[in-house]
Chain length 337, copies 2
């Protein structure tokens, strides 16, 4: 009998379909490979092919928009949103619309086209996290923005249009619906229990251990109880904190290490899958708070989302998280670089 | 400047990204083609390779699970849900789960492997609609079910695992979250205005005409104001009705004609795209009602859903619906068969 499981934060039901494929080898997919052919605007030497950089990390005193960087943040050349002007909310009969105001930036994680994020050193991944934080802190000063979302699409199947490893940032004038649901769900739990639901999840998962993938003093990586996707992973800070950007230095060090560890395990177990990750953090006007707890969700792209998922919002997941955690725990890793 | 538009029913915001691709030819995708190679359990003569049929339409007096049918409904051989037993709701610490109870059926729309739904005659498509209705009426008698969803995945990119044209039905013991949002949104509007929001949309769209694709006495096909996907189409009955299965014979006739028309236009304009469609209808225990209005949503599969969409629940759509409606209206069709 399949099992229906409820995500305790959003109330979303998931079907854990035990009759279907579930081992890593049961998923047919294309391995993400770096071809490196053709022109790449994110490569060293091509700095003038992107819009002018917003920030860059340079240790050699090199000049802006020129080689010598280890990480660059640039505006998206084809932005989904425009940075200028006001919202200008207005109606069109019964419909509502406003200007597509927002920021859309690209974090180029390394000048090296041949590297994936998982292949970068822990120190380089820390820099990626610092860049996320630097940009969030800067954009928070602009009071038109209510939410800043950081995400990464890795591999064409996961929506990456350029193969050179990069993350994206979108600053939005509204709190998106899915974020609203998550924050509201956490608040409801807090109102009822006077405890943070993520803190409770960490405690329960640590005690049972069945869905824990890895552990460090400041972070835990788990396969969530009601995952939408096979081999979905959540990395959660052990100490309650509502906003990603308020993390401390030693926390970013451990997060970089944990993130590298998880991406490497996915590569081992699933043979270099495409994936998305998203930093889930509090809406800007609502932080700090006691009910919401920032975390990072990694979703390997193994299954196709079809009519049923679009219609219901509930997902059919052929791999119980207890199974995926077992595979991911068992992956033997090379010593970290 | 891109535009943010709000779906008036669910409150979901959509980015209409004017800086990006928007013409039909700008979307790179694989054309859905029927190869017909290899064994197909849905073909004439292979009736014993599916679970025993639930219903079949036969005009020649042929016997069950044997050739001679024009349409068959069978249980899904790899069901996402199991039909036997009770829900057995239970906790696991702070988590909630229950048995994956439900029905999962396949509607085989024709014995002919070479045909797509768009290629079937209006009469055959009517039969598909009658089959949907027959199964809904039967499953409604089972009081364990709260919602019945009918959907179709066409083409591998849209999640179809077998190419022989078919639709699917899933009966669920809970009202799914996305359906809940839509029904609740409609009810809120009704409470405020004392009118059905879909009836209001039909009126406004008919008057402005910019998003109307086609029209018949009982149905209207529009590109919705805030579409998640490029070339998304909604077919809405003009007369208020909360449940699909309560439609009358002449309505099914016109719906079959409109559905064939829309699928044919998509094939013309987008060169045989993969697509999903979903029948949006009232939850079983809540029908009939004045606030919710059943309709059918067609979503061609042209773009990849990536980190941003998963994280926010809002979609980036590069094609304004006024543009997609223009292309779809202009498509020249062969005379109907």
């Amino acid at each position: 009998m399949p099992e229906l499981r409820k995500d305790p934060i959003t109330g979303r039901w998931v079907i854990i379909a035990t009759e279907r494929a579930k081992r890593p080898s049961d998923f047919v997919r294309e391995r993400v490979e770096i071809h490196g052919s053709g022109f790449c605007p994110f490569c060293n030497g091509n700095e003038t092919k992107t819009p002018p950089e917003i920030i860059a990390y340079r240790s050699d005193g090199s000049s802006r928009n020129a080689p010598g960087w280890s990480l660059r943040v640039v505006p998206n050349k084809f932005p989904a949103l425009g940075i200028e002007g006001g919202l200008n909310r207005q109606g069109e009969g019964l419909f509502d619309k406003m200007n597509g105001l927002g920021a859309h930036e690209v974090i180029i994680e390394t000048p090296d086209h041949q590297k994936t994020l998982a292949m970068l050193s822990q120190r380089q991944i820390e820099d990626v996290l610092w860049a996320y934080r630097d940009r969030i802190l800067d954009l928070k000063k602009d009071h038109r923005f209510k939410y800043i979302m950081i995400f990464k699409n890795h591999g064409e199947a996961a929506g990456a249009s350029l193969e050179h490893t990069h993350s994206q940032l979108i600053a939005l004038p509204v709190v998106p619906k899915r974020v609203r649901e998550e924050v509201d769900g956490s608040r409801e739990y807090f109102n009822f229990k006077e405890r943070c639901i993520f803190c409770d999840i960490i405690k329960q998962e640590s005690e049972s251990g069945v869905r824990v993938i890895a552990d460090s003093p400041e972070f835990i990586a788990v396969a969530p109880f009601a995952p939408r996707f096979p081999f979905e992973i959540w990395i959660i800070p052990r100490t309650h904190l509502s906003a990603f950007e308020d993390s401390q230095k030693h926390e970013f060090e451990q997060l970089a290490s944990m993130l590298k560890d998880m991406l490497t395990r996915l590569d081992k177990v699933l043979d270099f899958p495409a994936y998305n990750y998203i930093i889930h953090t509090s809406p800007i006007p609502e932080t700090p708070n006691e009910h919401y707890h920032w975390h990072l969700e990694i979703m390997p792209k193994l299954t196709k989302v079809a009519g049923f998922e679009w219609g219901t919002g509930f997902h059919i997941n052929p791999t119980p998280p207890e199974e995926s955690a077992k595979f991911l725990r068992a992956a033997v890793l090379e010593p970290a670089t």
